[in-house]
């Protein structure tokens, strides 16, 4: 895991250096700032030093002091900047809840699709699945908000759009009303992020189950006179679901890194947004911190999938 992370960091650092300009580019276009001040700023931030020197200093800082660098903008440690406030918690809440909901819908619908192969309902589900997959997230999110404001006029009922809460709830202590308000604000995120991942899962489940249903042991089960219900749920689905568990490892990091655009349009307070803002300002150590965080998520996702797989499928043993 560690060598992989180091490789990722070197690779990302190189790419950041390949980006044109640096943190000071915007300041250079400010008529009020003189050249000497710009030079002093470059020295202060270490931007006057060559790339390898900076990378080495950064790596050394991590291993000797556990210091992942300082944000140019906030003058605070990288992870403080990225996780400021409740960003990490909200990132986990949004991505995990979206994942659970996607699975809750995709798996039964996949089973339904497989057991009703080539029926109108199967085609219908596939059609809507692919529709959700093909609509760009930012567009869907914006259209959804527009519908709420311009067509349903939710403002007249005192309801807000985007973000996690209405204005009056943001700083309020937790209450049932606040929780209800959270649900009102979070369902567009579930819908937008969820629909984009639903089609893939649904089709995987359908394919996998169809494969399993054509196997001989299923035939045997039916020949034994078992009810169709237990043939499907007890015998087929349990085997068909294994490949999906390994997919879980990929969906988790995808949800975190992939919902960037949605987080911006729906105004969700997540780590992605802080990362995006760092990208725009070329706040390079924060970008590095963000990339490491997302890579770590990928690794954790894979680990989680492996563990789950071993738990679900007794045939799999890691030794």
């Amino acid at each position: 895991m560690l060598p992989l992370l180091i490789l990722v960091s070197l690779f990302s650092f190189t790419i950041i250096q390949l980006m044109p300009g640096d943190y000071l580019t915007r300041a250079r276009l400010d008529p009020q700032i003189k050249q000497e001040t710009l030079n002093a700023m470059a020295r202060r931030y270490g931007l006057d030093k060559p790339f390898m020197t900076r990378y080495w200093a950064w790596v050394k800082g991590i291993f000797t002091r556990g210091d992942f660098g300082t944000s140019f903008e906030t003058r605070r440690p990288v992870f403080f900047t990225l996780f400021l406030g409740s960003r990490l918690q909200w990132t986990l809440v949004v991505s995990i809840s979206t994942m659970i909901i996607t699975w809750l819908f995709a798996i039964p619908l996949g089973i339904y699709s497989a057991t009703h192969q080539y029926k109108v309902s199967d085609h219908g589900l596939t059609f809507f699945g692919f529709l959700g997959l093909s609509i760009p997230n930012f567009f869907f999110a914006l259209v959804l908000l527009w519908l709420l404001v311009a067509v349903f006029k939710v403002g007249q009922h005192g309801l807000g759009i985007g973000g996690l809460f209405d204005n009056r709830f943001i700083a309020a202590p937790w209450s049932l009303a606040k929780l209800g308000n959270l649900l009102w604000h979070i369902w567009p995120a579930w819908l937008v992020i969820g629909t984009s991942g639903m089609a893939g899962l649904l089709r995987y489940m359908r394919g996998s189950l169809l494969d399993t249903l054509s196997l001989q042991y299923v035939q045997t089960a039916r020949a034994k006179g078992l009810a169709e219900r237990s043939v499907i749920y007890k015998h087929a689905v349990r085997n068909a679901i294994n490949p999906l568990i390994s997919m879980l490892g990929m969906t988790l990091p995808n949800l975190v890194a992939g919902s960037l655009v949605t987080a911006i349009v729906l105004n969700l307070p997540t780590v992605e947004r802080a990362f995006w803002s760092a990208l725009q300002m070329q706040d390079e150590y924060v970008i590095m911190g963000g990339l490491l965080f997302f890579s770590l998520f990928l690794l954790i996702g894979n680990l989680l999938a492996d563990v789950l797989l071993a738990w679900v499928d007794p045939r799999i043993r890691y030794s």
Binding site: D30, P31, I33, K34, G85, L148, G162, P269, Q282
Partner: protein
């Protein structure tokens, strides 16, 4: 033991009671209060009205603050808050742009203009501590002039001869500022935010060697408890939820009052929602979640359609265009670094070519097609709202445009000018050629993603192609564009710069040795006669205390730049657009002049919530 606890507890109670009393503000209006004559005839504020106290205002900004320290802040999403918390000795009137007393209740200028004595108001910081001359000295001598402090204010206050105004204490409420040369804009520039010595001196290495160098640059960061913050401005940060909102509360010790004796600001709280997307901010305004919104020209048609039904007002002020400039830069040093493209360089250096180019720019079509007609053509480097704008007849006079330098859109004229300088089609392929037969070709860049700019370069390139100039529009990444511009590695660049109302602040752009003199960097070594003249005129405008004399110098400066130098070719300036619900009183004060770093020019302490 029990007794001790009781004593300590009661002492604590007494202390906390004191603290509460302290934070409640003045008992009566202080003698030195600054009266804002809202609605009083004959004052700049006669179109506004006195308001009522109470309520919360909701606005939005597109990104998070980075810190709470005004001195080290670098961008508007931070100064949006810090400039509300702080105040300076002088301030610009949001209505007419005049420089007025703020923390200084008055000042005297010596006859030679070299010594300015400021008389300070006897007012308190938001935590109740009295504001004195020591805070002013601390701000200048220990923060702004301190090399250890990372601030761009230092550049603003430096005089043209590279010295700094000397700030000295006369008594607790009098400060003397001595200059090495006469410099009229000093009264604007001395208005930087004054910082609280009693809170911050401990973090300055120079004053407290126990803290390491550079500590001040990390002071008042986002992890600072808002209760620690204090200022002299109308609002103080109360709480912050990243990516969600910043709440500001009123400063109980604010020194501004209205003519009825009501202490400003009127509203109790100002909430800034952090909304990353402008489109979503627009939706939130339409949904009633924001009270005011600095809309874009492209939003105006949608908002106009709902204006009556939803009871808000869309403000479109063509007579108040936004500050700053938008222009084409023609690189007169193209190929100079590696000694190539001499033909193109000579052409670009030919004034007649740039005149031809000016005649080929259809500003009105750009305005109509790109910003719904909500802009004004621009010809001068000085903003239209500046009292020094050369389209006026005298300092601060009404705009007549009698002096305007306008190259009317006329492709025939442009073509004949090109013929005149020997740029003609020599091989019959439809493109004009140099004398040696090679085609005149150039790349026209702007930043990708800015649809207005992308549209503008397409319109201009299209017109140039009509007269046989092979100009190819090519939008590129912003940082690449800036790097190309600042290293003189481009042909044409279309871009904009921020600006204020004082022409001298454009020195970094228009002086031959300016770091942003990006169309002709070699002018630093070999300036044209006209560039030397511009340098002299910029000096002359700043070196007199007489506004009328300064106006004459700046007028000649603007006309020389636009007619003779043609370094930058200006295009158009967006009209000021703004929208507010009619339950917001005094929102019409919004103007590009209203302290530039505040929210789209809205003066926060003057607005109020009706009924």
């Amino acid at each position: 033991m029990k007794k001790l606890v009781l004593v300590v507890a009661s002492l604590l109670l007494v202390f906390s009671a004191c603290a509460v009393v302290l934070a409640q503000g003045y008992e009566t209006m202080p003698e030195d209060a600054l009266i804002i004559p809202l609605g009083v005839e004959g004052t700049p504020y006669d179109f506004l009205e006195p308001g009522v106290r109470g309520g919360t205002m909701y606005i939005s900004d597109f990104t998070d603050p980075k810190k709470w320290n005004h001195t080290t802040s670098k961008e508007t999403s931070t100064s949006l808050y810090t400039s509300q918390m702080m105040a300076g000795l002088t301030n610009q009137n949001p209505v007419n742009g005049a420089i007025e007393p703020e923390l200084a209740k008055s000042w005297d200028v010596s006859d030679d203009g070299l010594v300015i004595t400021f008389h300070l108001r006897k007012v308190n910081w938001s935590d109740g501590t009295p504001f004195t001359a020591d805070d002013v000295l601390f701000t200048f001598n220990d923060l702004i002039y301190n090399e250890d402090v990372d601030t761009s204010s230092r550049d603003n206050i430096q005089l043209p001869d590279d010295t700094f105004p000397v700030v000295e204490k006369v008594d607790d409420h009098t400060v003397k500022v001595t200059l090495s040369m006469t410099f009229r804009p000093i009264l604007t520039q001395i208005g930087v935010a004054i910082m609280p010595k009693h809170k911050l001196a401990q973090y300055v290495h120079k004053l407290n060697p126990d803290v390491p160098a550079g500590t001040f640059n990390e002071t008042w960061g986002l992890d600072t408890d808002p209760a620690e913050l204090c200022g002299l401005g109308p609002f103080i940060v109360e709480s912050y939820e990243p990516d969600q909102q910043v709440v500001m509360r009123r400063n109980p010790y604010y020194y501004r009052y209205d003519a009825n004796g009501t202490q400003l600001p009127y509203v109790d709280k100002y909430v800034v929602l952090i909304v990353a997307s402008q489109d979503v901010s627009l939706l939130k305004f339409r949904n009633g979640e924001l009270d005011v919104f600095g809309c874009r020209p492209s939003d105006v048609p949608i908002l106009k359609a709902e204006e009556l039904a939803k009871d808000f007002t869309v403000m479109v002020a063509k007579d108040k265009p936004v500050l700053g400039t938008t222009w084409i830069s023609v690189n007169q040093d193209v190929g100079l670094a590696d000694g190539t493209r001499e033909n193109l360089r000579n052409l670009f250096r030919n004034r007649k070519f740039r005149v031809a180019l000016s005649h080929a720019m259809d500003k009105q079509t750009m305005i109509n097609n790109l910003v719904n007609g909500l802009a004004v053509p621009q010809w001068s480097p000085v903003s239209l709202m500046s009292p020094f704008y050369a389209g006026r007849d005298y300092y601060g006079g009404p705009i007549t445009e009698a002096n305007a330098v306008i190259f009317e859109y006329d492709l025939d004229k442009a073509a004949s000018l090109l013929d005149e300088i020997g740029i003609i089609d020599r091989n019959g392929d439809g493109w004009r050629d140099f004398e040696d037969g090679t085609t005149v070709e150039m790349e026209f860049n702007t930043n990708v993603g800015n649809t207005v700019r992308e549209g503008a370069i397409l319109i201009i390139a299209d017109d140039l192609q009509k007269i046989g100039i092979k100009a190819v529009a090519n939008p590129i990444d912003f940082n690449t564009l800036v790097t190309k511009l600042l290293s003189a590695d481009y042909d044409f660049v279309y871009l904009g710069l921020t600006g204020g109302t004082e022409p001298n602040s454009g020195g970094n752009v228009y002086r031959p040795c300016g770091t942003l003199h990006a169309w002709h960097y070699s002018a630093c070594e070999e300036p044209y006669e006209v560039e030397k003249r511009i340098d002299e005129l910029l000096d002359a405008g700043a070196a007199t205390l007489d506004n009328d004399k300064a106006f004459e110098a700046y007028k000649e400066y603007q006309i020389t730049l636009a007619r003779e130098d043609l370094g930058l070719l200006y295009t158009f300036n967006n009209a000021y657009t703004y929208v507010y619900y009619n339950h917001v009183g005094n929102a019409q004060v919004a103007s590009p002049l209203g302290s530039p770093s505040s929210y789209y020019g809205l003066t926060w302490d003057l607005v109020f919530k009706k009924g």
